[in-house]
Each structure stands twice: as C-alpha cells, then as structure tokens.
Amino acid sequence: MIHPEKRIHCKKYRIVQNEEPVPGHRLMCLHAPEIAAGAKPGQFLHVRCADSTDPLLRRPISIHRVRRDEGLLFMFYRVAGRGTSLLTAKREGEEIDVLGPLGNGFELPSPGERVAVVGGGIGAAPLFFLVDEIMAEIHKRGADLTDEQDTARQALDFYLGAATGSLLPSLNSFLVRGVRVHMATDDGSVGYHGTVTGLLQQHLDEQTHIDRIYACGPAPMLRAIDELAIRRGIRGQLSLEERMGCGVGACLSCACKIKNFSGDGFTYKHACSDGPVFNIGEVWYGH
C-alpha cells in the first residue's frame, strides 16, 4: 500500500556516462525512467557510493537535467570527498543504488514573469533542470505570442558564477533560444570580475526588471541574494544545502534555520523533506 504518486524509488540504475567536463567535476547520466518521469527541478537523489559500510551514508546529489523521453537522468557533481571520489571510478554499464526523487523542488514562475536564475559554483547544477522546464513552458505558450513585449517576456536571465573561468559549467548543449547567459568569475578570467550577486545587482541598478529570482550556491551567496531580493521586493526561492543523513525526513540531521511564525526567531526545518527549496525571506540569517 504505497501511493503511486508519492512513491520514492530505491534501486540500482545503469550508468550511461560518467565523464569529467570540468576539472574536478563529473557529469553522470543514468538510465532511470521511473525517476526521470516524476522528477521536478530542485529535487535531488541520494546516492550510495560503495557497496561496503565505509563510507556508510549516501550522498545527496541534485538532479542536473532529465530527458524524459529517453528515461535519462543527469547528475553534475563536484568531487569533494571520499564518497564522490568513489563515484568517479564508476564506469559506463555499471549500476549504482539511487534513492529518489527527494525534496520539494522549485515552484515554477507565473506566465509572463521576468525570471533571473542565479547559480554559484556547483550550486548551478540543479538550475539547468529549472531553466529547461521554464523555457519549455515559455515555448509551449509562446507559439501564439507575436508582439514585441511578449517576445521580451519569453527570455530568461541565467547568471553563473565560479572562482575561475575553467570551473564554469559547459554551456555547449545549452544555447536554448531565449536564455541569456551572464557569467561572473572571482578572478575576472571570464565575464564580470566579482561575485555573481554583484553582477545581478549591477543589472538591477541598470533598470533590468526582474519579477522572480531562483538561486542555488554557497551560503554567503544565498544570503546576499535573499537580502537583495527582499530589499527590492522580488519574490523567489533558494535551494539550501545541509549535511544529510536519511534524505527522507526521518533522521532530522539536515536542520536549517527558518524564520518562526512571528519572524523574531527561528525554528528548525529539514533540507531533505521541507526543502531543499525555501522561499526568499523564509530563511533565518540572524540579526
């Protein structure tokens, strides 16, 4: 008696590809039709990196993109420790144990809204799926829009930040009509010299109008986006990261501070089951 729509899948899936498009980062593709069919942007997978008990726990990895018609699921991950290092050794044709899809996912924008999607470092990974979905919606609706204003509304601004140009994710497969990509690097090697938040701020100062922001990246970046969006009255969502245990809301490890009812303090919610996506203005950053 498991409700089919609520079902979380837990089984071994075949690896279709596992390559290194960016130094220290991997793009892994799985044939996982059940998960691909039901997955929403912002959701994640909980991956077992070894068959042994050491390392013991699964590793949460966001869903980078899906190709539903082919049943394919992509993960773009940074090789950061023992678990992800073990994943790099997996070859095409091998299987890995995956639990998912997990988490709440992003809420898609309303028709006609101008959207900015902001990714910092590996935080950009889940945003590709989000951009794919938003653009698919826009193109579906856009067939009968003709005037100039409507054309402008069929665009989306995708901001990508990284420490240096070589760490920016490859966009070769990503030149979708209507997506304007803006890059920022800490060392100035590619695009804007500075943080991705600084670049967004500059565009907003130059009268770029944005109705909704989506962001994923390091905590200081998310905090800056949260402040900027609140100041300008822009709605949106942030995807948080926390050290995770079970991934399904049972162990209560991945606690994050969310503003309480009166807004003068916080209550703990959980990145895996209440999130990882939270509304702008909802996360408690202290006073």
Partner: protein
C-alpha cells in the same frame, strides 16, 4: 510452509521479529513512501517529549568508519502533536505502534505514559533513559540503576501498556541496570542505545558536531551490542529487542542467537530504506534452509550450543 515468525514482546504481539530503532524511522510515513509498512513486525517511532523540542544546533551528524555519530537532541513536535498529526496515519496499518518517550524528570515520563495510555492506537511504550544527546534526563537516568528503576516504577503506575526499557551501553554494568528495571516492572528491554563518542575536524580544529559529543551507531557498534544482549539474556528473564548496527539478516540472527526475541533496524534504514524488509526475508530464508519451524527455537541458541 508452516514457519512461525510471530513473537511476543512483553504483551505486544508482533507478526514477525523485525522492527525499527527509534529515531531512525521518523513517524513511519517517511518510509511508507518506499516500503510497505505492513511488512514490519512493529514500528518504534521517534522519541517524543511532553513539549515540542527544537533539537541541537548543526552539524548534527558525522560519518565515522562503518558508522555515524548523531546529536539530534530529541527534536520532536511534542506528544500532543504526535497523537494528533502522526498517529492517525499509522492506525491505517496492521502494525503495533511502540512510542519512545523521553523526559527531563521522573514526572515527565509518568505523564507521557499516561497520555499515551489514553491515546488509542499505541501498542507499547519504549522508555528512553539512554539518550546521550540531551543535557537533562535521558542518560542521567539510564546510567544509574536506582534512578532507572524509579523512572520505570512511575511509568508502570501510569500505564497498563507494555513497558519496554531502552538501555544504554554507556554504563559500567548493563546487567545491573537491566536487573533493576526488571524488578521495577518493565515488560521488555531494548538494547542498545548509541555509544557516546565524538569526532574532531582537523582542518577547523573543532569538534565536528554542534553538540560536541554524539551517539555512535551503525555496523561499528554491533559487537558491543551483541555482547550486551548476551550478558543481559543470561541475567534477566525479560524479552529483548536487540539492535545496534544491524544491516542484514545475518546481523539480525546474531542478536537472536545471543538472546534477542526481536530485532530493530536503525542506522541501516538511512543507507538502505529496504533494510527492514530484507532482514525479514533473509531470516525467513535462513529458517527454511535450516529446517527451523519457529523463530523461538533460535532465540538464545548460542547459549545452548
């Protein structure tokens, strides 16, 4: 095939010996999206307290060799919210619900037992006198045989439900605590809770956990748990729910042969959400292959061989 898997834990009738360790299975609904909860012999839910608890600061977990440290700090919505929000979901299943309780004082434990006694749909109470992650209560009661007995006497008076006492390994003699709580009216024992431990991040030069110390669980603690079950089985006549690092049927059978009537899967749920069902299927297979008709034949068999 005529294999009997049913067991009785101090009056709680379980259709098979496999249950869940408190704190590793939420309130059931979390894993109800992955496995059929009706397969379980019973469910032991997350520790509940009289009032809601926020829990400890993060990080709350740290991975260790074949194990993990946790310091959640008994985060829970409080017993009233549990009864209102979480318990109705479980009533739809053919599944005894065992509620783990924790308090700051002896009175808290007795009040909780009384509230749950009247709630309906609760099959038994597991008294947590062994949580290492809270400042008051918990281990403070479980590490002293006399204090432990006082808690159990008061809980016993407050409820007619079966009372299971969860024992801590962080004591000089687990047998001494087991004997005392047996004398105070416990119907069954569950063992072991986590082992107090800690880890330090050498890069930041600080303890990894926000709470500094935490409870160690997972396969790393299994030999300690099997030993504890072995010792207590020899000394006390109460049925035992054995737990500590069980990941598969072979692990579970070790506990049963050491003297556990039932077994609980804990940390393994995080790694393999199907672990409970796989443990059950493996036990059935083992019994079939070895001509065992009743699981009772295996309980404590290592003492008789």
């Amino acid at each position: 095939m005529g294999i009997n898997l049913a067991v009785n834990i101090g009056g709680i009738k379980m259709k098979n010996p496999v249950t869940t360790a408190s704190g590793t299975f939420g309130f059931g609904s979390e894993y109800g999206r992955i496995i059929d909860l009706n397969r379980l012999g019973a469910i032991v839910v997350k520790g509940t307290t009289l009032l809601p608890r926020e829990g400890n600061p993060t990080p709350r977990i740290a991975e260790t060799p074949s194990g993990m440290l946790n310091a959640i700090g008994l985060q829970n919505p409080g017993v009233d919210s549990f009864i209102r929000e979480a318990l109705p979901f479980l009533r739809d299943y053919d599944l005894p619900v065992i509620v783990n309780i924790a308090g700051d004082t002896v009175e808290d434990y007795a009040k909780l037992a009384g509230i749950l006694d009247r709630a309906g749909g609760v099959a038994g109470i597991e008294v947590n006198i062994s949580c290492p992650n809270v400042k008051k209560g918990g281990l403070q009661f479980g590490s002293d045989p006399e204090s432990a007995a006082e808690v159990i006497r008061n809980v016993r008076q407050a409820t007619s439900l079966p009372v299971i006492v969860k024992l801590s390994p962080n004591v000089t003699s687990i047998v001494a605590v087991a004997e005392k709580v047996a004398g105070a009216g416990a119907d069954a024992l569950s063992m072991i809770n986590t082992l107090l431990g800690m880890a330090i991040d050498i890069k930041s030069r600080r303890p990894v956990l926000g709470n500094i110390m935490g409870g160690l669980s997972g396969p790393a603690v299994r030999p300690v748990a099997v030993r504890a079950v072995w010792q207590v089985y020899q000394a006390v006549k109460l049925p035992i729910i054995g737990m500590g690092g069980i990941t598969c049927a072979a692990d579970a059978l070790e506990f049963i042969m050491a003297g556990a009537t039932a077994v609980a899967v804990g940390t393994a749920n995080f790694v393999n959400p199907r672990a409970t069902v796989e443990v059950l299927e493996g036990i059935e297979r083992f019994m079939a292959e070895n001509g065992i008709k009743d699981i009772a034949e295996l309980v404590g068999i290592a003492h008789r061989c």
